[in-house]
Symmetry: C2
Subunit: 424 residues, 2 copies
């Protein structure tokens, strides 16, 4: 009996991967690719914020920003981000330092108050479910889990969530109250929703009269190439379709200025804005308007935001290019994995063969390369194919990143070839 | 039939009050005594904040405060306020710009999650009630109303809420889940809870296993006299009584540094802190640590806080003295009203004869002096005796304040004598 050339070859590939993994382990690496955190050099771009507003404390209309009040946020900051987020300034709210907080609070208020169009509080309904395009953002899923909201996975396509599935689910089940969307440069796929997707989201018939699209436009101006992708205006499309109150728009400057000390935004229909302001008025006497003024002075206008994001891109693009280059060189043609080449946002998605992701992440961890847990991109941390790994290239230095990605490819080869051998 | 001397005298007093009120109306005043807002001169005391942290962006332990993370807040800021609020630093959380938000969120989390010691989520219980010492703080009552929590008024004494009533209510009704307390220089009475009150709050038997004291220590260092009143340590007393998880302590720098851009604090038992942090971790990736560092650099330590509050006192004390002086001069001996002389805090409570407060506020409003609506100090805005008026002396200039209080006394005389005449 002669040895099959393919088996021969697999043995050799596995040996080589094992050798490389052993060498990797001996290097004592300690690298972290887990979260989409800006690197210190990116934060340095906004260091002017650290001494602003530099004695000034009145807004354009003469308001003393040091005092209480101004629940909707500073008008001049809302003007800048009205353009950036595509929300009329009167329908935009500037709040605290986190859009996640605003999403949390919208869920809380929908649970405990009656959201416009609803027949009752969500908490009084037997079951509430949200559609979760997968892969998606783990913190969205954690919010659902925290509030006992059922999660229904919907596959992503390269034009957004599979709208045939979405339309069917929202039409047949009145318990489906919402969908999580990161419409531009999605987390983690980098997908940009097509005009058709936006149109269908706006126009679809929903069994729930109080259905809401949580439109987490986290990467609105976070381009990585010369092509500044624009997506269609869902807020306007909803209004045009007569589903005026369907969308909550979220955004923030967390990945524009300072990750922990930026400003978050909420935009929606007049009825929804009034609803949120009404509920917020019980919670707060107003946001940190000094920080909002600080941002106005630093960013100046929408062009200022775009110019600033070019400087961010200059730091990020080489990192994303390095990830692509190394993945191409090490895994290209192996059939062991596929990966995205996003035009913006913060992540690269690596898709291994089925059943390999958890083991790759485990092996990488043992070699000192910490990755987001496999499965985190799916509700309940359960990726049924065990294939998706989210790579966050922003935080490490370019050199650390290259080491980490190279090490990751070794783990993909090791686990992939081991699996193939097991299948033989 | 001869005219009674008392009636004669009343007629004269009423004539004089009518004359004064007419003169008041002709002055075209526009004065606002509604809210406990710091005056611009008070905010000026913290203007150094407007250019801090001035290039620095690392905390004592080397954390980059510009980035995500640090859910519990900056340790060095928590150290300062651990001493100020009497909470061990490990059990203290430094959060966003508003303690009201923290109170709101504690209610939300208790409603939607299971608070330590609870048998179920509050939202799943048929009825929830809070004890509301009256007069009290309208925003506390608004939170109850917003969440459908029944409010049970409890009379205040000069040592805190009437503990005989409190002990009876909490012992007999398991639906009573909490009590609102402003334990030092209370809003609006300026009452400081006695050691006995604190002891009884800590030790009392409650029918609800998940009873919580919302201890809003808003005026912990906000003295107005040389006597720096100290209150007993409720957190320690609860632990000593075996009711370790009974109290949520709240505080903030809103009336220390900047009213809209300060830092809020939450302190409690280890189990409660873990519970809040666990829930907050779904909501936020961390507070604005730059603003926390800014506060550390500005305040330095607990002595720095106290020194700063002496500067605040220098601005506030003359205003409170003016209020007392004018009330004495104009209403002393008339029997028309009583008023407080607080040793700290932000308010003077004026108590008219029964049935006069609404009319006094209305008449004052017509004369251009805006007061907090009568009744606001009671649940549902309903002061059953219609007697309590809350005066907030901080925001106007001393001259404006004197005009406003003088005008207010005219209204008290007018309404009081009119009422007496009606009773004749």
């Amino acid at each position: 009996m002669t040895t099959e050339p393919s088996s021969d070859s697999l043995e050799g590939l596995l040996d080589s991967a094992r050798h490389d993994y052993k060498a990797l382990g001996s290097r004592g690496l300690s690298l972290d690719l887990t979260r989409g955190k800006p690197a210190p050099a990116q934060l340095d771009l906004s260091d002017e914020l650290l001494s602003l507003p530099n004695g000034r404390y009145t807004s354009a209309d003469g308001t003393d920003v040091r005092n209480y009040g101004g629940l909707q946020g500073l008008p001049e900051l809302r003007e800048i981000f009205a353009e950036v987020l595509g929300v009329p300034v009167g329908q935009l709210l500037a709040a605290g330092n986190s859009s996640l907080e605003l999403m949390h609070d919208c869920l809380v208020h929908a649970l405990l108050s009656v959201v416009p169009g609803a027949e009752s509080r969500w908490v009084d309904q037997e079951r509430i479910a949200f559609l979760c395009p997968v892969p998606g953002y783990d913190r969205h899923f954690s919010l659902c889990r925290r509030f006992g909201i059922d999660m229904i996975p919907v596959p992503m396509t390269d034009a957004g969530p599979d709208m045939d599935v979405v339309e069917r689910l929202v039409a047949e089940d009145p318990a489906v109250k919402g969908i999580w969307c990161v419409p531009k440069y999605s987390n983690p796929d980098g997908v940009c929703y097509s005009d058709e997707t936006v149109e269908r989201l706006a126009g679809m018939r929903t069994a729930a009269p109080d259905f809401r699209i949580f439109w987490d436009n986290a990467y609105a101006v976070h381009h990585l190439t010369d092509e500044r992708v624009e997506i269609a205006d869902l807020l306007a499309a909803c209004a045009a379709s007569g589903n005026t109150d369907r969308v909550f728009v979220f955004g923030s400057t967390s990945k524009i200025t300072a990750a922990g000390a930026g400003v978050a935004f909420f935009g929606s229909s007049p009825a929804n804005v009034e609803w949120l302001l009404g509920n917020n008025s019980k919670r707060s006497i107003g946001p940190d308007k000094i920080n909002q003024l600080r941002h106005v002075m630093f960013l100046r206008d929408a062009d200022g935001v775009r110019a600033h994001m070019e400087r961010q891109r200059a730091l990020l693009q080489p990192k994303f290019e390095a990830v692509g280059r190394i993945l191409d060189a090490e895994l290209g043609g192996t059939g062991l994995a596929e990966w995205t080449s996003p035009k913006g946002g913060y992540f690269v998605t690596l898709e291994t063969e089925e059943g390999c992701a958890k083991e790759v992440v485990r092996r990488a961890g043992e070699a000192g390369i910490v990755l987001t847990p496999a499965g985190a991109t799916h509700p309940h941390g359960d990726d049924p194919r065990d294939a998706v790994i989210r790579i966050a290239p922003s935080y490490p230095t370019l050199e650390e990143l290259e080491q980490a990605i190279l090490g990751l490819t070794v783990c993909v080869r090791l686990v992939g070839y081991e699996r193939r051998q097991g299948l033989d």
